[in-house]
């Protein structure tokens, strides 16, 4: 099988050799546990008390903050969307800006990757200057595909050169399994998003994490040439189903509340039925609708850690939980993040 980037692969191998040697040198003395990190994915940066406490309690030194998204406008030009507003400057924790780029930007967009990289770097500088933040790393989140691969890879290279910062990317399981086709970005580390595995559907499968689906991909992880950090889900949502069709995705629906509400009847497993039509948390539930709760239990997180550690060539240096948020934190015991990391 041919590689699309032979020259770069050699570079990777070189890099890997050095990295591996260094890494195992360190491992000889003490087993390194991955650090706890979080993604922060809101448009206004203002940490609540519980969020601050989670950072302190878990000795979090790095917080991955969504700075903005990039989408296309009606002229197919790439533009930043919902840029972050810092209502409060973060203390101590190092911020890593994350930019989410829609794949369509590469497929239908008119911007050339080099030009877009320049704009992104300038825009991040503007945000940083305004809040007097410094950062050394920048993460790009994009579900690039075969069609967008070349432009995306060029963009990453340009970004590296123009920003002078460490560039990292997120990576999906399919990009790992089909790495020869989708390519490997020219970065030092990538963060494997170990969630959103299936389709949002009315069946009994969990779209956030499903062991069976994970198993189809997991064997490829070992051969991926980049060191991986792992992003794990701590979010939940409810899928509203009517006439066997999914009609809504209801975020942050508190199922403890649903359990108390006589408008809903528990069916089985993760399913609830709407008994009387009602409005709750901004959603309209019609009598006979079904609600499917999708969440990741603490035991699931531990299981994922167990499952993944067997497949990773190198233990990850960080586990990044998605996402830091009061509602999500409430669903777990405070110790869980550390425990998951210890399980790697």
């Amino acid at each position: 099988m041919r590689s699309y980037y032979p020259a770069r692969n050699q570079l990777f191998i070189g890099f890997l050799l050095i990295w591996t040697l260094t890494y195992f040198q360190a491992c000889k003395n003490d087993k390194i546990r991955p650090k706890v990190s979080f993604y922060y994915w809101k448009t206004i940066f203002k940490l609540s008390e519980a969020e601050n406490e989670a950072l302190l309690h878990n000795n979090v030194t790095k917080l991955y903050v969504r700075y903005f998204d990039i989408e296309l406008n009606d002229k197919n030009e790439a533009i930043p969307l919902s840029p972050i507003i810092f209502s409060k400057k973060p203390e101590k924790t190092e911020l890593v800006p994350v930019v989410y780029i829609k794949n369509e930007v590469w497929i239908n967009g008119t911007n050339d990757p080099e030009n877009l990289a320049e704009k992104v770097v300038k825009y991040i500088d503007q945000i940083n200057n305004k809040t007097q933040i410094n950062n050394n790393e920048l993460q790009i989140d994009c579900d690039w595909t075969l069609k967008s691969r070349d432009k995306f890879m060029k963009f990453i290279q340009s970004l590296k050169r123009i920003s002078g910062k460490t560039i990292t990317t997120t990576i999906r399981l399919h990009q790992i399994k089909y790495q020869k086709k989708t390519g490997i970005p020219d970065v030092q580390t990538a963060t494997l998003m170990y969630y959103n595995m299936g389709t949002i559907s009315a069946d009994s499968k969990n779209s956030i994490y499903e062991k069976e689906i994970a198993n189809r991909y997991i064997k490829s992880i070992y051969n991926y040439p980049l060191p991986l950090k792992i992003a794990l889900p701590i979010f939940s949502w409810a899928i509203q189903i009517r006439d066997r069709k999914v009609i809504n995705l209801c975020n942050k629906l508190d199922f403890k509340e649903i359990a108390k509400d006589t408008n809903f009847v528990y069916l089985n497993s993760n399913f609830w039925r709407v008994k009387h039509s009602n409005i709750k948390s901004g959603y309209y539930y019609k009598a006979d609708d079904t609600l499917k709760l999708e969440l990741i239990k603490s035991t699931d997180l531990m299981e994922i850690a167990n499952q993944l550690k067997r497949e990773l060539k190198y233990p990850p240096t960080e586990i990044i939980f998605y996402d830091l948020d009061d509602f999500n934190l409430q669903q777990y015991d405070k110790k869980i993040f550390q425990e998951v990391c210890n399980n790697f």
Binding site: I85, D141, D143, L173, V246, Y284
Partner: protein, 787 residues
């Protein structure tokens, strides 16, 4: 070598981002079948301002998707109103510039000139065009000057740079209290009612977009009785709703939005978008705020857009039966039912429909019979705003649940109220037809005659009209189908579902009669021609000279024509090595037999590169028929012992190139086998077996090998045989496996095929061998001991 569609692997993992409120899309297919599940055209019944709120399973707003004209929704109205006020002294074009364009500098210049009479650039440009001594025009310039200050805080401006963080939408400049007070004073001191009204609105706007929202609300409450209840009034009222929404006072916000929805058609879409109850409590509080049944009905009317049109229709009917809001909700309700039952028409989720009775039961089970009773009662009450719609909805729902006689009664009632538009008349006709056909238990010549006229209308006339309508709309640039509201053009008429459904239904009736040909005409099965007897029946039907009108129509709507059938039979004969039979059939396949091949079909290259063969210069271009004639000529020469090596090799190439692996796939890609089958996985198994087999090619390559006079020739034959062996390997290990795409990851690209071994062991001293090594990576790796 193997073509693999990456799409097959691409299990989608969404981005990290999870938005707060996601509309999930059902699979809707292409634009052509936008409402392929629907017979019920809302445009036939409902007033235009509700257009974006019609049911759309694919996006939030019908036809337009999302509301993207926040900045310019009222521009035309504003220009028109000023045009009249200024006694047409400034052209609409110039007014558009001043009121909506990048005119800030010119406005400043004109304002300054009026103040100190010093000429400036703006005055030089406009001084002669507009007369500032005219008191109304002077007042206009003054107003523009003030309004432009408000615009600075309310819009991003035309030269907004998205890549400048300082200009991000949420970082708008805030108004100073001074501006609000200035405008308020202008409102108070202006006596001209037109201008006074506009200063009133500008004051509200400055208050809303600035930091004076409390002041704005107080001002509104003080003055609301003094201003006319026009669009400006309701725009300002929407600001008040927005202020309450921001304060999380949802009950007030939603109550106000519903009132704007009720009274201001041009803001219906905006208010429906902004209306958003959070829970039962604030919803009930909003209802309690309503001062009359009309106001309560308005709240249910907006809620019905998000929530449950059935419930809203019932609630509104109880409160105010003649409310026009019921209309759009009834169309939403019927359209939602249509979507729900579409499974019974064709591809049902779980069941395969084999008979009309099964179809009826399946459809009936998906309709809430209580709703039919309620809608029927409303229609019979004669109290509703739109009796045509209510009676037609009742009729249609009765049809869907199998009450055909009852449905007829409602059709008769609806008929008396039919609006004088083609759309309404067509709507009535199509639903009556659906009822008639749905009630048919069998098909015979009597029933054929009953439906013949309607079927001609449905299958022939409507598509032709719709094409013409589309063309005229395209030519007439004033008709913008993506304008603010969906245009009420005849092509909005939803007949496509009925066209598809009636074919399936009629096909089921013929199936019950055991008439395979007519069944196929109305519902192409895709497997019909796998059976020779059936093929012969179809051919006999197509060739008979005396046909009934109904049979003619059935054959007309059938995609496959006689020449396609003959061409297909010729292809089958070719693959059966019966070239005489193939030629005879192909000669009769008039039209199709002249289709040209894209490459030289007798090429035998090391690499199977179709595109390379397509662009390579060709001395002769072969048609389907030419190919067969030439192949026959070669075959005869072989049989005669005439240049057996060359003729066998060329004939083998010919046979190779008409398979899936060769450069002349076009030979078999007729109407029956189709050209969509870009990989064998996508072909039906019957065709795939025939088209992926290289057996015939192989037999002639072997013949050529035997007749070869030197090792170069033998080496070539051996490599060609290797290609055949490779294809067989792919057929067995990839293309014929049920776990296809997973499997292709596991199956090796190549293995040590016998022919590879022989080529290496017996012909490594030939020139051709070296050519193969240069061009075929697999062979090179095999020779080097890697795979």
């Amino acid at each position: 070598m193997t073509k693999r569609s990456f799409k097959k692997y691409a299990i989608t993992f969404s981005g990290i981002i999870i938005s707060g409120y996601i509309f999930l899309y059902a699979c809707a297919g292409g634009d052509e079948n936008w409402f392929g599940y629907s017979n019920f055209t809302p445009e036939a019944f409902v007033e235009k301002s509700y257009g974006p709120l019609f049911f759309d399973d694919n996006q939030s707003f019908y036809y337009i998707g999302h509301d993207d004209n926040y900045d310019d929704r009222f521009n035309k109205m504003i220009v028109d109103e000023w045009f009249i006020y200024l006694d047409k002294k400034i052209s609409k074009e110039n007014l558009t510039y001043f009121l909506t364009g990048s005119s800030k500098q010119d406005i400043n210049d004109l304002f300054n000139y009026a103040k100190n009479k010093t000429s400036n650039k703006g005055f030089q440009q406009w001084g002669k065009i507009i007369n500032q001594n005219d008191p109304k025009i002077k007042a206009f310039i003054d107003f523009l000057f003030d309004a432009s200050k408000v615009n600075q805080i309310s819009t991003r401006g035309v030269d907004y740079d998205p890549w400048n963080y300082d200009e991000k939408p949420k970082a708008k400049k805030k108004s100073s209290p001074k501006l609000f007070d200035e405008l308020k004073l202008k409102y108070k001191t202006t006596s001209d009612p037109f201008l006074k009204n506009r200063y009133w609105f500008q004051t509200m706007k400055a208050g809303f977009y600035g930091e004076e929202q409390n002041k704005a609300e107080s001002f509104f409450n003080e003055t609301k009785g003094l201003v006319p209840e026009n669009t400006l009034f309701y725009r300002a009222l929407s600001y008040i709703a927005g202020i309450h929404y921001k304060q999380k006072d949802y009950s007030t916000a939603n109550y106000i939005y519903s009132q704007v929805f009720d009274n201001c058609p041009s803001l219906r879409m905006v208010t429906a978008y902004n209306f958003h109850p959070q829970n039962d409590k604030d919803w009930n509080e909003a209802l309690a705020k309503a001062k009359s049944n009309k106001e309560k009905a308005a709240l249910w009317a907006v809620l019905g857009f998000y929530a449950d049109p059935e419930r809203s229709v019932s609630e509104i009917f109880a409160l105010e039966p003649a409310s026009p809001h019921i209309d759009y909700l009834v169309t939403r309700m019927v359209n939602q039912y249509e979507l729900k039952i579409q499974g019974s028409y064709w591809e049902p989720d779980e069941e395969k429909i084999e008979s009309v009775s099964q179809f009826r039961n399946s459809q009936r089970s998906k309709i809430n019979l209580g709703v039919i009773d309620r809608i029927s009662a409303m229609a019979l009450s004669d109290k509703t705003h739109n009796p045509f719609l209510m009676n037609l909805a009742a009729a249609y729902l009765n049809t869907l649940s199998g009450n055909y006689t009852k449905a007829n009664d409602f059709f008769l009632r609806a008929k008396q109220h039919t609006p004088n538009t083609r759309l309404a008349q067509d709507q009535l006709r199509i639903l009556q037809f659906v009822n008639m056909l749905s009630s048919m238990d069998k098909i015979d010549s009597e029933n054929e005659n009953k439906i013949l006229t309607d079927l001609n209308w449905l299958y022939i006339q409507l598509p032709a009209d719709s094409t013409l309508d589309k063309q005229s709309a395209d030519e007439d640039q004033t008709i913008d189908p993506y304008a603010e509201y969906p245009e009420y053009k005849p092509f909005a008429f939803r007949y496509q579902r009925d066209s598809d459904w009636s074919k399936k239904y009629i096909s089921l009736l013929y199936k019950a009669n055991g008439d395979e040909v007519m069944e196929e005409f109305f519902n192409e099965s895709g497997t019909f021609y796998e059976n020779e007897k059936r093929t012969a029946k179809m051919k006999a039907f197509m060739q008979k000279t005396k046909k009934s009108k109904f049979e003619i129509l059935a054959e007309t709507i059938y995609r496959i024509k006689l020449s396609d059938l003959l061409e297909y039979q010729a292809v089958v004969k070719t693959f059966g090595n019966d070239l005489d039979g193939a030629i005879e059939l192909m000669q009769q396949a008039v039209g199709n037999n002249r289709i040209e091949l894209l490459a030289n079909p007798f090429n035998g290259k090391i690499k199977d590169c179709h595109d390379c063969d397509f662009i390579a210069p060709k001395k002769i271009t072969y048609t389907h028929l030419d190919l067969l004639v030439k192949m026959k000529e070669m075959k005869e020469k072989i049989e005669r012992g005439d240049d057996v090596y060359n003729n066998s090799l060329l004939l083998a190439n010919g046979y190779y190139n008409i398979t899936y692996f060769g450069n002349s796939r076009i030979f078999y890609e007729g109407a029956i086998i189709g050209e969509m089958a870009s990989t064998p996985w996508m072909m039906n198994a019957f065709f795939a077996k025939m088209l992926t087999s290289c057996d015939l090619a192989k037999s002639y390559y072997n013949k050529a090998f035997e007749a070869a006079s030197n090792t170069e020739q033998k080496a070539k034959c051996m490599y060609m045989l290797a290609k055949c062996e490779r294809n067989e390997y792919y057929n067995q290990n990839i293309y014929s496996r049920p776990d296809q795409w997973e499997n292709q990851e596991k199956a090796a690209d190549f293995i040590s095929w016998n022919t590879f071994k022989r080529l290496k062991n017996e012909f490594s001293d030939t020139k051709y061998y070296r050519e193969v090594i240069n061009e075929c990576g697999y062979f090179k790796r095999f020779v080097n001991g890697r795979n």
